[in-house]
Symmetry: C2
Subunit: 260 residues, 2 copies
């Protein structure tokens, strides 16, 4: 994997990042993975390594339950030297400037973070379509309520959020959310890809009004490092243990041709 | 109201902040209000002013739907000169250093923000106890599902989140979440006060394990500017239109004395 040289205070040093996230799902960790991958940063996905390789879920649990002053509440978190940073949007706000994926201007950075937090809000709502009652229960034990919540999500929330993102993308020139490519574009790619996976029918219906977002999603997928990542086994496939789950009964009905 | 003098780059200037949030509820706006109040900052709660006074909800809606480049997705947002910053945790991350309520050290600021985002996560879950199916439906139309979600919240999530906060508060010395008083302490006061209002029985049961959080909550309430604010009509009472709602059927059963 290529390494990244960072110039900090005149010194150039190689940083090695440790990502801690549940193995087996993309989940919220994927927003961080995409940023590392696009930057060509040297990072280790610790919980996906074996114990012999110095990794494993146990190592993640140890940091989370450990007695360090910076004990995080939940994965993902990233270790940079002795410093641990948690909360997905916070991780990106902290890392992206160091990886060349955030604007230099402070107000633009605040705006980028605001967009990322709005993406995070939509991620919570997408997750809760299949877990409206409790994260501690199986989907099968809250399927009826999931159908009700998913119907409202598809009817009201999907177009509200994506309509907003399409609008602010247009306002910023239509190509990037900020003046140039940034981690927000990567996160939007992930959000849209997840929604495509979970709600293909609903997304097919929404697409005609999302021309700019769709073009951005395609452009991100073709970025050389992202394309290589998506084709690699580092990219975990979407599945029904993650945030974006494809349960056909939660999706909109397929569009049918006109009858008669 | 006292004004705040800010020293930025050697220049001292008075800032006037405009807060935009729904009038009539504390909601997420309250986290911002508490920070302004504790700092003695000069701020205007725009949507609570009349149209004659230059405020009103219309003004909030105009900025949200307007054609500005920084159109926010939802309130609260704060206008500082021409700059608009949205998303509660982002607002605090941006403002608190300017108001003397955030640490100077970058890693400490990142940690403060991480705690604030974890508070925000719990706020979402507290909200969704009364709206598990859709924000667009009345509580009465999702009461059965609300009972199920609230039971899981009280049983699993409340102690998980508050146990975490109690633990990290202890790790940081027990008095403040950071090295000294900060906006995170204020936000924790608000979170605990909201939970007390919504779930008095559940909170009474949880209290014995939350000695440090309880002491922090009391200390914050006694801070002179906060005490004055809480006694003023600027503090909107908790009510059943906000995030923290008291529906007795969603709370734990009251503790009863031992029988026999």
């Amino acid at each position: 994997m290529p390494t990244l040289s960072l110039a900090i205070c005149g010194k150039t040093r190689r940083m090695k990042y440790e990502l801690y996230y549940w193995p087996g799902i993309q989940g919220r960790g994927e927003f961080v993975r995409l940023t590392f991958e696009d930057a060509g940063a040297e990072y280790v996905d610790v919980a996906r390594l074996t114990r012999k390789e110095g990794g494993g879920v146990e190592k993640l649990m140890r940091l989370m339950r450990g007695d360090g002053a910076l004990r995080p509440f939940a994965p993902p978190f990233v270790k940079v030297g002795d410093f641990i940073v948690a909360q997905t949007a916070n991780i990106l706000h902290y890392l992206a400037p160091r990886l060349g994926l955030a604007p230099k201007d402070e107000q633009q950075r605040v705006y980028a973070h605001q967009l990322q937090l709005t993406i995070a809000d939509m991620v919570v709502e997408a997750h809760d379509t299949h877990h409206p009652i409790a994260v501690g229960l199986y989907y099968e034990d809250q399927r009826k309520e999931a159908k009700a919540r998913a119907a409202h999500f598809i009817e009201d929330r999907l177009s509200l959020f994506l309509g907003y993102f399409e609008d602010v993308l247009e306002r910023s020139g239509g190509k990037h959310f900020l003046r140039s490519h940034s981690y927000v574009d990567l996160s939007m790619f992930q959000l849209l890809s997840g929604l495509d996976y979970a709600f293909p029918n609903a997304m097919a219906r929404a697409r005609p009004k999302l021309a700019r977002l769709s073009a951005l999603q395609e452009r991100v997928a073709k970025r050389p490092r992202i394309a290589a990542y998506l084709a690699s086994d580092r990219r975990i496939p979407f599945n029904e243990s993650g945030i974006f789950r494809h349960y056909p009964e939660l999706d909109a009905k397929p569009r049918v041709g006109r009858r008669g």
